[in-house]
């Protein structure tokens, strides 16, 4: 039977929303205080949802320890207590949480196999979150 398994991780990172293609005024208009020159930070929650058949021997879709290790290696070690703008992934993309969410999905997609990565949700604050399902 196909079931879903979800896990929530927290990481703290800084970013600044600034598009090189826009003028200083346009950046200010588009991003407001998120464009402040020295950046700011969030406690991000990354929620990972995988799916697959429940293994008859373990009762699991994916071993929690394996998922945790994958998330730590591919995402948490890389972004926790880091400045997202300085990561090569954001060298030419704005470090919005939309783009961060897509990047997290792409970093985990193959790594969680044979489980299927169904969705990544990134909560930037308690009041806003972003989801990406790989399409």
């Amino acid at each position: 039977m196909k079931a879903y398994f979800g896990r929530r991780y927290m990481l703290s990172a800084s970013h600044r929303l600034h598009a090189e293609a826009l003028s200083a005024e346009e950046n200010r208009a588009a991003y407001g205080k998120c464009n402040n020159p020295h950046g700011h930070g969030h406690n991000y929650v990354v929620e990972v949802l995988v799916a697959g058949p429940v293994d008859a021997a373990t009762g699991m879709v994916m071993n929690l320890a394996t998922l945790d290790e994958t998330a730590r290696r591919r995402v948490l070690d890389r972004f926790d207590h880091a400045n997202l703008n300085l990561d090569p992934l954001f060298a030419d993309r704005v470090a919005t949480t939309e783009n961060f969410c897509k990047s997290v999905f792409e970093l985990l997609d193959e790594a969680v196999r044979p489980a299927e990565l169904v969705q990544v949700r990134v909560e930037e604050t308690e009041n806003n979150y972003f989801e990406y399902c790989g399409k």
Partner: protein
């Protein structure tokens, strides 16, 4: 189509153990969850049903009715119980979060489907605020 979700909580103990395996293999795969003395969680169960609002009441389903069904079909069996030792579905199946979601579906689906126009859409079980599993009735 409206999706309506009711949350309930229960507290239960369990352990993970596959009788076909050696103790070493159980400990390797299940880690601390393989401690045969068991451990417990405060589980949160989310039951989502789908349907159209009734033209007279505006309800997809009466929430009080759904609350009572959840209490009767699931909480009465799981709350303050040892899942491995006291529930027939986990006499052999391991009470992982995935299997609890599937078992809760099997307990609720007949009662929910029997009620006009509503279908069970999703069961989500939180073992902790950071770990959850879901079953959507798929094969």
């Amino acid at each position: 189509m409206i999706f309506l979700t009711r949350r309930a909580t229960f507290s239960a103990s369990h352990y993970y153990w596959n009788e076909a395996w050696t103790a070493e293999k159980n400990e390797e795969v299940f880690g601390r969850c393989a401690n045969r003395n068991g451990h417990g969680h405060n589980y949160t169960l989310e039951v989502t049903v789908a349907g159209e609002p009734d033209p007279v009441t505006g309800f997809v389903v009466d929430l009080k009715w759904l609350k009572d069904v959840i209490e009767r079909e699931v909480l009465a069996a799981y709350d303050h119980r040892h899942l491995n030792l006291e529930t027939p579905e986990f006499a052999e199946a391991i009470p992982t979060t995935e299997n609890i979601a599937i078992a809760a579906w099997k307990r609720l689906e007949p009662a929910v489907t029997g009620t006009g126009g509503v279908r069970l859409s999703r069961i989500r079980v939180y073992e902790t605020p950071e770990i959850f599993a879901e079953y959507r009735g798929e094969a």
